[in-house]
Structures are given as C-alpha cells and as structure tokens.
C-alpha cells in the first residue's frame, strides 16, 4: 500500500509510529518525540493512537516547532 509522508511517497505497510520514526530519522526529538504532532489526512492523531496502521492513500504529516514570527 502507498501513503504520503511529509509530501513524499512511501510504500508498504506501516503504523503511524513507523511513519513518525521514519520522518524523524536521526532528529534530536526522536528519542522523546517531544514537541511532535502528527496528522493523518489533516486530522490530529494523538500519541495514544500512533499504533494505528495507515491505510492506502493516507497523507501523513509529522510536524514540530520551527522559528516563526
């Protein structure tokens, strides 16, 4: 199955947590996942539901803080 992760196409079965891990890569936040929020198809997925499997065509956004005015 296919899904989009932060705008990039991905393949194969995955949970939200898998997606977060792949998005974070080596990023410092990885450990804690602190300051991270996830949306699937625009809706928030709370941490408690990250075990949820993604469905074909899902658009996943993994977001964190950046400098902003």
């Amino acid at each position: 199955m296919k899904f989009a992760l932060n705008g990039r196409a991905h393949d194969g079965p995955a949970t939200v947590a898998d997606a977060v891990r792949s998005a974070l890569g080596a990023a410092s936040a990885a450990a804690s996942g602190r300051g991270i929020a996830v949306a699937v198809n625009g809706e928030v997925v709370p941490r408690s539901e990250w075990h949820r499997p993604l469905r074909d065509g899902d658009a996943v956004e993994v977001l964190t803080a950046t400098q902003g005015g």
């Binding site: 932060n6 705008g7 998005a23 974070l24 890569g25 080596a26 990023a27 410092s28 936040a29 602190r34 300051g35 991270i36 929020a37 996830v38 949306a39 625009g42 809706e43 928030v44 709370p46 941490r47 956004e61 993994v62 977001l63 964190t64 803080a65 950046t66 400098q67 902003g68 005015g69």
Partner: protein, 255 residues
C-alpha cells in the same frame, strides 16, 4: 504592580517576541534574554531530520512560554487544523491565529480569520488573532471570544512603523480585551508609540531578529515598551499649535 493579563495569565513583560528570522539559536537566546520577554512565538513545520537541535530547547533554556502560530495558513480550515496540531505538539491551547490573504502582503484575510477564530474559541482555544487595523473586525474578533486582538502596525517584516495611528487608537479605546500591536514595528520609537496609543503589549520579530545587533535591539525594545507604557500612564501634555514658555518672563532683568 502594572502587570499584563491575557485570559487570566499574568505577564510582567509587555513584549512578546517572535523567533522568526534569527540567524541561529545562540543569537536567538541572547535576544530573548535581552528582551525580557516571557512569551515567544513558534511555527509548526514538517520535521527536518537534518535539523541541529530544536528552537524548543532554546525556549526551555530561556525559561519563557511558547505561543504557537498558524503562519502561512490561507484558509480557516488550514489554520484550525494547524492550531489543533500545535495543541498536541506543545500542550498549550494558546494560539497566535494567522490567516493570510496573500503571500506578497501577508495581510490577514478578514473573513477566514473570523471564521477560524469562532471555530477555535468553540474548541476551547485561547485565541490571539493577528488582524489588520480595522476597528470593526477587531470588535468582531473580540465578540467571537478572542482573548486579545493583535492589529498590525504595518505589513509583516516591513519595519514601516504605525501606518495608521488613528485606527490603532480607535481599536484601543473600544476594546475590553488586551490590544497587542503585532507586525510592522521597525525601531524602538515605533514600539513606544504603540504603547502610547493605548496598546497593552507589542509583538515583534523581524525588528529584533534581523537587526544588525539583535540582542541590543531587543534591549531597546524592552525599554521602549516600558517607556511607552509609562508615558501613557503619566498623562502627556497636550499638543499646542503655539509655544508656551517653560521659563517665566516674570522677574526678568533689564540688561
């Protein structure tokens, strides 16, 4: 003690600092400290695996609060979704609500902004909307339940100062929530003037983060906001068309 209260939360500083535009985290930390601010804004963006450290670390080290914004959103729906994600990420229901009409002027879209504000207030958010300087829209945002209104001085990043002091004064006269002058401040006297016009606080980013010496400009802004607030409370002299002697002619010598 002359504190600022927004939605019941008290602040000793009347300066809110945007973190956008800082060259690096060290410079940002210095600016935050020099500004004396207790609240700084951040944006929400896709995680960047290559990123070296997080702006959150800086904010934590400085011991200030975080105010997420919805910068870059063009529709009420985008802004509402972004606010929900920010609540999830930062465990705060405060949001600087920004819904822009285009990417050249970055001016707020009044209709989308009001729509988003109504939705977010309904969901229990503490909404601080970045708005234009229209007194009517400001009142409608207040009526919608916003915790403050944040009219611009001038478009974001222009440094043009207060384009329309008359509107800003009208907004301050009528508002029963804090009025925070947001965007367009270029230098210290602009910030002081905003406070003299009746604003409760000033929010700025570029003026400090892109100044040649951000920490020094941050100090200037801290003093300017404090000066403008004091001048407002002190009751300035009236403007008069003709001169009035500060030295009496009485008892002048015949030389």
């Amino acid at each position: 003690m002359d504190e600022l209260a927004i939605a019941g939360r008290r602040f000793g500083s009347r300066l809110i600092l945007g973190t956008g535009g800082a060259a690096n985290h060290a410079q940002l930390a210095d600016a935050i400290t020099a500004s004396g601010t207790e609240l700084v804004t951040v944006a929400l963006r896709r995680v960047d695996p290559a990123a070296a450290g997080s702006v959150l670390d800086v904010i934590e080290r400085c011991g200030v609060g975080v105010l997420p914004n919805t910068a870059g959103c063009r529709t009420a729906e985008q802004a509402v979704r972004t606010a929900r994600l920010a609540r999830e990420a930062f465990a705060t229901d405060w949001v600087k609500l920004e819904v822009i009409g285009d990417e050249d002027s970055l001016l707020p879209d009044p209709v989308e902004l009001l729509d988003a504000a109504e939705t977010l207030v309904g969901e229990g958010f503490t909404v601080l909307p970045y708005t234009n300087d229209d007194p009517i829209l400001a009142r409608r945002l207040e009526e919608a339940g916003c915790a403050a209104v944040m009219p611009l001085a001038a478009p974001i990043g222009t440094g043009l100062g207060i384009r329309n002091p008359h509107n800003l004064a009208l907004i301050c006269e009528q508002a029963e929530v804090p009025v925070i002058c947001d965007a367009g401040i270029g230098t210290a006297s602009d910030a002081a003037q905003a406070m003299e016009l009746g604003c409760s606080a000033v929010l700025l980013a570029t003026a400090v983060t892109r100044a040649a010496d951000p920490a020094l400009m941050a100090r200037a802004m801290r003093e300017a906001v404090s000066a403008g607030r004091a001048a407002r409370l002190a009751g300035r002299i009236p403007r008069r068309p003709l001169a009035r002697a500060s030295t009496s002619f009485e008892g002048i010598a015949d030389l």
